[in-house]
């Protein structure tokens, strides 16, 4: 195998590995629709350090074993086939409501320093300039899941803003993972936790619409050859790049 150079590594690969490292063995982990990148990260974690992680999804397949990943969906038959039990969306929500879901993956379009998440509208809710898809489960899952992990494939001043247009939900975010950086939510604020090895601090500051503290920020590791090999085996056709 050719050893990949730093230049050939895609930001999605860094995100997948970063997310996988955040997942722990034996955790119950859920992702929803349009979630191909976290899906690959979950499968990577299960193949490495978290073999007993329980993987949950919308169709309800518990730990499914599909031979391939769908190019267009993270809520289809691939998440159901050869699973070891059926535990559908409704029950996953119930699990979170009673405090027994460990991790949920969610996204959004705007985030501000105070941990507000907007996945609903740009502009006024009743007369929106842009109607977004909606927060899906965010408004009930982020407050009730033990750790809400948010990922977003865009990192620019329109995504990380001073003040979101609409609060779909707020708080209880564990981390936000982007192609440039990782934010941690602590004491009611987002803190820059780490930056990608493919970018610079100047770039992260420039692309973030609120002031960030640049002290005590680490640099994420590059994926190892072994990690890249497993990712490629899991995701042969590159569904993790679909959002980019």
């Amino acid at each position: 195998m050719v050893v990949k150079t730093q230049q050939s590594i895609h930001p999605a690969d860094i995100m997948v590995v970063t997310i996988a490292h955040l997942l722990r063995d034996k955790e119950r982990v859920f992702h929803g629709v349009s979630s191909q990148l976290p899906m690959v990260a979950i499968l990577l974690a299960k193949a490495m350090h978290a073999k007993d992680l329980t993987y949950l999804n919308i169709p309800g397949g518990v730990n499914p074993q599909s031979q391939h990943l769908s190019p267009y969906s993270s809520a289809g038959y691939e998440q159901y086939t050869r699973s070891e039990a059926v535990f559908p969306l409704e029950e996953i929500f119930d699990l979170s409501m009673r405090g027994q879901l460990d991790v949920a993956f969610l996204s959004g379009v705007q985030f501000d320093m105070h941990g507000n998440v907007n996945a609903s509208v740009i502009g006024d809710y009743h007369k929106p300039k842009v109607r977004l898809p909606g927060g899906a489960g965010s408004a009930v899952l982020i407050p009730t899941v033990k750790r809400a992990l948010i990922w977003r494939s865009k990192h620019d001043p329109r995504t990380f803003v001073e003040q979101v247009d609409f609060v779909t939900t707020k708080g209880n975010i564990d981390r936000i993972i982007t192609p440039l950086a990782v934010f941690k939510y602590q004491d009611g604020r987002l803190h820059l936790d780490a930056i990608s090895p493919l970018t610079t601090m100047e770039e992260v500051v420039k692309q973030t619409g609120f002031r960030v503290n640049t002290a005590n920020v680490s640099i994420l590791p590059l994926p190892t050859a072994e990690e890249l090999r497993i990712i490629q085996k899991i995701d042969k056709h590159g569904v993790r790049y679909k959002e980019f």
Partner: protein, 276 residues
């Protein structure tokens, strides 16, 4: 046997302004043939309810059938992008987007299912959705004195659901993911099924464990092979990529007419021409 009727007859029973629950999830196992017939019959002011919709809602909105959509998420997934017709209609004010968390749709249907007017929902505490929407409110828990958000019940006038197989009474089998369809079948006042195939009552009796919607809840059945196309039927057929791309890219009236025409035989033939 009387329940098996043509697609057009089944859809004729749905009145303008009805609350309509649509089975399936995003691009999977939506009752697309029934949805297209709603457009052909030019239904108006439908109030759609679904946790996560995509092409189904986009087709109904493009056809001018929709007044409001109660859902947690309306979009194709990453590959096909946003539900472009839905999005534009909400932005120009012709369709009202009633955003839920997916779970609050489930809770609203659950309330209808068990015959109560509203349902308490944990988690939904800090959200502009509560103030912005009349179907959310906060009440005081009479036992603990703590505040909790409630969601108003949604009792659909009709649920339209696509299934893999059913007998002539509507005892229905769904292979693979059920999504929220069983809940919808219990919450709605009426249930209309489209089905890939009709099986005998004897076959049902040998497989009653697999029957997830009992026939006594079902009012009408439309025989419709490939009834989820261009969406997928999990484990049986996949999406029609080219059809979806054309639908999203070609926005003129002619191409929408062409889209409906392309399926007119498929949507009507079996049910319409069915004789026992």
């Amino acid at each position: 046997m009387k329940k098996i009727i043509s697609c057009s007859k089944a859809i004729e029973t749905i009145k303008d302004g009805s609350w309509i629950a649509i089975g399936g999830n995003v691009l999977h196992r939506s009752p697309m043939g029934l949805v297209r017939e709603l457009v052909r019959q030019q239904k108006t002011s439908l109030k759609v309810v679904k946790t996560a919709g995509a092409h189904d809602v986009d087709v109904l909105v493009r056809g001018g059938c929709v007044e409001s959509v109660d859902a947690g998420f309306i979009s194709y997934e990453t590959e096909y992008g946003l539900a472009t017709y839905y999005r534009k209609a909400v932005e120009n004010g012709s369709v009202q987007a009633n955003e839920h968390a997916c779970y609050t749709v489930i809770s609203a249907l659950n309330a209808a299912k068990i015959g109560v007017p509203f349902m308490p929902v944990r988690g939904l505490q800090i959200s502009d959705l509560i103030e912005a929407n009349p179907y959310f409110d906060k009440v005081i828990d009479p036992f603990c004195g703590e505040e909790i958000t409630v969601v108003k019940a949604i009792r659909p006038d009709v649920a339209i659901i696509h299934v893999n197989a059913c007998d002539e009474e509507g005892n229905a089998i769904i292979d693979g993911p059920k999504f929220d369809d069983l809940l919808m079948s219990r919450a709605a006042k009426r249930v209309i099924l489209s089905t890939e195939k009709i099986i005998s009552n004897a076959q049902v009796r040998l497989n009653q464990d697999k029957v997830v919607i009992p026939g006594f809840l079902v009012e009408a059945i439309v025989l419709m092979p490939r009834g989820s196309a261009p969406g997928s039927l999990p484990g049986h057929y996949d999406v029609q990529d080219k059809v979806l791309r054309e639908f999203l890219e070609r926005k003129d009236e002619d191409s929408f007419g062409g889209y409906l025409d392309m399926y007119s035989v498929q949507d009507q033939e079996k049910g319409g021409g069915f004789s026992w």
